[in-house]
């Protein structure tokens, strides 16, 4: 298992997440896709840490922070989605266009 394998996994995961974020209509799905992209980044951090600087823990520390922040982000995101749903009665992202120019 080399660094390339991990990076390929991260890239694949990021691509899946990006595809999902761009194509899902359901806003919950978009949030979940964003989580995928987060985790792709986390895999990269951990992999770089492991293969480039195994004597240090910087990448792992950043990953722990990321997981925490992602959790907080999901909380805020879901709360926003809930608030928008109560107002507009829909979970489809294309209907969220109140600010369009």
């Amino acid at each position: 298992m080399t660094l390339t394998h991990y990076l390929a996994l991260g890239a694949g995961l990021f691509a899946i997440g990006l595809f999902g974020a761009l194509t899902r209509r359901n806003v919950i799905g978009i949030l979940m896709s964003i989580e995928l992209m987060f985790n792709a980044a986390n895999i990269n951090f951990v992999a770089f840490n492991r293969f480039l600087h195994p004597d240090r823990l910087l990448g792992q520390a950043v990953t722990i922070f990321n997981i925490t922040i992602a959790a907080a982000e999901v909380v805020v995101g879901l709360a926003l989605v809930l608030a928008i749903y109560r107002k507009l009665n829909t979970v489809y992202a294309e209907d969220y266009n109140l600010l369009k120019g």
Binding site: A21, L22, Y96, L98
Partner: protein
């Protein structure tokens, strides 16, 4: 107090400024008391100076300290006092007359809406005159001279709501300005030659003879200064303003005629006497101007019906007398200034008396008066005293001063003496005519006569004071030799002997003129006088038209008016058209071109920027459709683009 003589002009000046700027205006204002108090102080001051001078406690001219004023090139100009005999007497007369006039005005001006302002003006007027009298510097004399012009303008036009006073004040101001021009030029000429404005230094220079002051310069300067005196002292031909100046309040007339203004011209000629002594021609012209004025004014007074105009012509005539005296040498100098002093008393008295009559009758026209002696005892008696004084009745003050002038004139030229004597007769005639028409006989306007009453004592007391002075001043000052001791020229011979027939002829003329006056006007009806007037109407008309001098000057004014209209036409039709309007057109054309460029290019550029921005906005708008996933797509595309660019490098 003599060391603080500079206070004499300053105190009334400050008082008048205070009166003008502070205090309440109105008929009941008590600010006039301040003005009267200031003048009283000055009078006491001048009394003490006069007393010291008369008792020889101080020598004249008194060396008063002077103050540096400014330096003109290398020539220092200083503010100083010249306290000599004439100045001391004149100060006394001016302060006394002004004080009495101001007290009198408490009654005369009572109830006037500009009561306070009147006093401010009168105080200012007197202060200017005092400054003129006391100053040793001809430049300061000139400044005071002009200040007096201003205050006379303000006072003659005091009732400026009425067209008459407004016109008269303008006339007085402009007419005297005509003479002032000469004064100023003379001043410059003197300065150019002598390099100083100080009168004593100029006199000293003149005394050094023709080397220090050429005769031509003395003549020219003397004649130019005489122009100023002719304007101010109402001599021929500039006397025209004085009769019209009667439009002012009567106390002002008294002040102008007795103490200030007209006395200034005589005083100026007396002050610069050294010029005339150096130039026989200028001296002769002074004498002839005086004689001509005295005679012409006396004849004009013969036919006047306005009581104040009679007095005005009489003043002009008496001023002519003084001028005549000044023109005939050293004896005449003393006599003229003596006459100036005594004349101040009786002329002030005559005007204040006339004011009292006008106050009672509400008319100036003597034809509507008559029989007032019973109703206005104080006024009529005091005016009778003044009349005796001015006509030269023996014992009264005018007798001494007039005789002195006549004697001096006789010593100079018997021909002039004859004319002067005739003028004295005319004076006697018209003064008695005035007295008869006003006070004697039966009332001619019953309604006005019934309304008349004696003036309050605030007005009659000044009359009595002046009456006492008119009666006694001549005797006191002449017999004791007090006046001559203080006012004389170095070269004058004391106590010259005069032929006895001078006195007798004067008395004969007096008696004849008074008798003629009684015959024509003193017997109730004026039938003889009216008959005479009808027979000699061309002469009467000529005299009533004042020898056409008014018309002549009016013609000058009209001429300058026409000139002004021509200038206006040139200005409007040529200068305006060619220079102003054409320039305007060129500017307009340039502006149009600029406007075109502005609209086309500058505005176009501005508009283009806006339009392009609009288009760009409209086009980009299609990208922003409010779909969050589209935005995300743009972000992803941009990120990919940057990633690819990074990888390519």
């Amino acid at each position: 107090m003599i060391d603080h003589a500079y206070l004499i002009p300053l105190v009334p000046l400050i008082a008048s400024i205070i009166v003008l700027l502070f205090g309440k205006e109105g008929p009941k204002s008590n600010m006039p008391l301040l003005s009267i108090g200031a003048m009283g102080f000055c009078w006491l001051d001048s009394c003490s100076i006069l007393y010291k001078a008369l008792t020889h406690q101080v020598s004249m001219p008194y060396p008063a300290p002077s103050l540096p004023w400014f330096t003109f090139g290398d020539y220092p100009v200083s503010l100083g006092l010249l306290l000599d005999g004439p100045a001391v007497f004149m100060t006394f007369v001016v302060t006394l007359v002004s004080l009495l006039v101001q007290i009198y005005s408490l009654g005369y001006m009572h109830g006037d809406t500009r009561f306070k302002r009147f006093y401010a003006y009168v105080g200012f007027f007197t202060a200017s005159m005092l400054g003129l009298v006391l100053s040793s510097n001809l430049l300061v004399v000139f400044a005071c001279w002009e200040l007096m012009g201003v205050s006379s303008y303000l006072l003659i036009g005091f009732w400026f709501e009425k067209p008459g006073p407004a016109y008269a004040s303008k006339k007085a101001f402009i007419t005297t300005k005509l003479g002032d021009l000469g004064f100023y030029l003379g001043l410059l000429l003197l300065f150019a030659y002598a390099g100083t404005f100080e009168i004593p230094m100029l006199a000293q220079r003149a005394s050094m003879g023709a080397v220090a002051l050429p005769v031509e310069v003395a003549t020219a300067a003397g004649l130019l200064l005489l122009c100023g005196a002719i304007g101010k002292s109402a001599q021929v031909p500039l006397f025209i303003w004085l009769p019209d100046a009667m439009e002012g309040p009567t106390p002002v007339s008294a002040l102008i005629h007795a103490a200030t203004m007209v006395a200034a011209g005589i005083f100026l000629v007396a002050r610069t006497q050294f010029l005339y002594a150096a130039s026989p021609l200028a001296s002769d012209i002074v004498a002839w101007v005086g004689l001509l004025t005295a005679f012409m004014a006396a004849t004009m007074a013969l036919v006047a019906y306005d009581i104040k105009r009679v007095l005005a012509f009489s003043t002009v005539s008496q001023l002519g007398y003084m001028m005549l005296g000044l023109g005939v040498g050293a004896a005449g100098y003393t006599a003229a200034l003596f006459h100036l002093t005594t004349h101040a008393f009786f002329k002030a008295l005559l005007f204040l008396g006339a004011g009292s009559v006008i106050h009672a009758m509400h008319t100036n026209d003597m034809r509507e008066m008559g029989g007032l002696s019973k109703k206005m005892l104080s006024t009529s008696v005091t005016m009778a005293i003044a009349t005796l004084a001015i006509t030269g009745f023996p014992g009264f003050s005018g007798f001494y001063s007039k005789e002195a002038i006549l004697a001096a004139v006789y010593g100079h030229s018997p021909l002039m003496w004859a004319v002067a004597l005739l003028t004295a007769g005319l004076t006697t005639f018209y003064m008695f005519r005035m007295m008869f028409m006003t006070f004697a006989g039966n009332p001619r306007d019953i309604a006005k006569h019934d309304h008349a009453h004696e003036s309050p004592s605030v007005m009659t007391v000044p009359l009595w004071v002046l009456a006492v002075l008119s009666a006694l001043a001549g005797f006191l000052l002449s017999h004791t030799g007090a006046f001559e001791a203080l006012v004389h020229l170095p070269e004058a011979s004391h106590g010259g002997h005069h032929p006895g027939f001078l006195l007798w002829s004067a008395l004969a003329v007096f008696a004849g003129a008074a008798g003629l006056s009684y015959w024509l006007y003193g017997r109730g009806d004026f039938a003889v006088a009216a008959d005479l007037k009808a027979k000699m109407s061309p002469i009467f008309t000529l005299l009533e038209n004042r020898y056409g001098f008014d018309d002549f000057f009016l013609l000058l004014v009209k001429g300058s008016d026409v000139l002004a209209r021509i200038c206006f036409w040139i200005d409007e039709r040529i200068i305006d058209r060619v220079f102003v309007d054409a320039w305007g057109l060129i500017c307009l054309l340039l502006a149009e071109i600029q406007n075109f460029i502005d609209t086309l290019f500058i505005d176009g550029a501005v508009d283009l920027t806006g339009t392009v921005t609009g288009w760009a906005g409209g086009g980009l708008r299609g990208l922003v459709r409010g779909q969050v996933q589209e935005y995300l797509l743009y972000v992803a595309m941009a990120a990919s683009l940057f990633a690819m660019l990074t990888l390519i490098h």
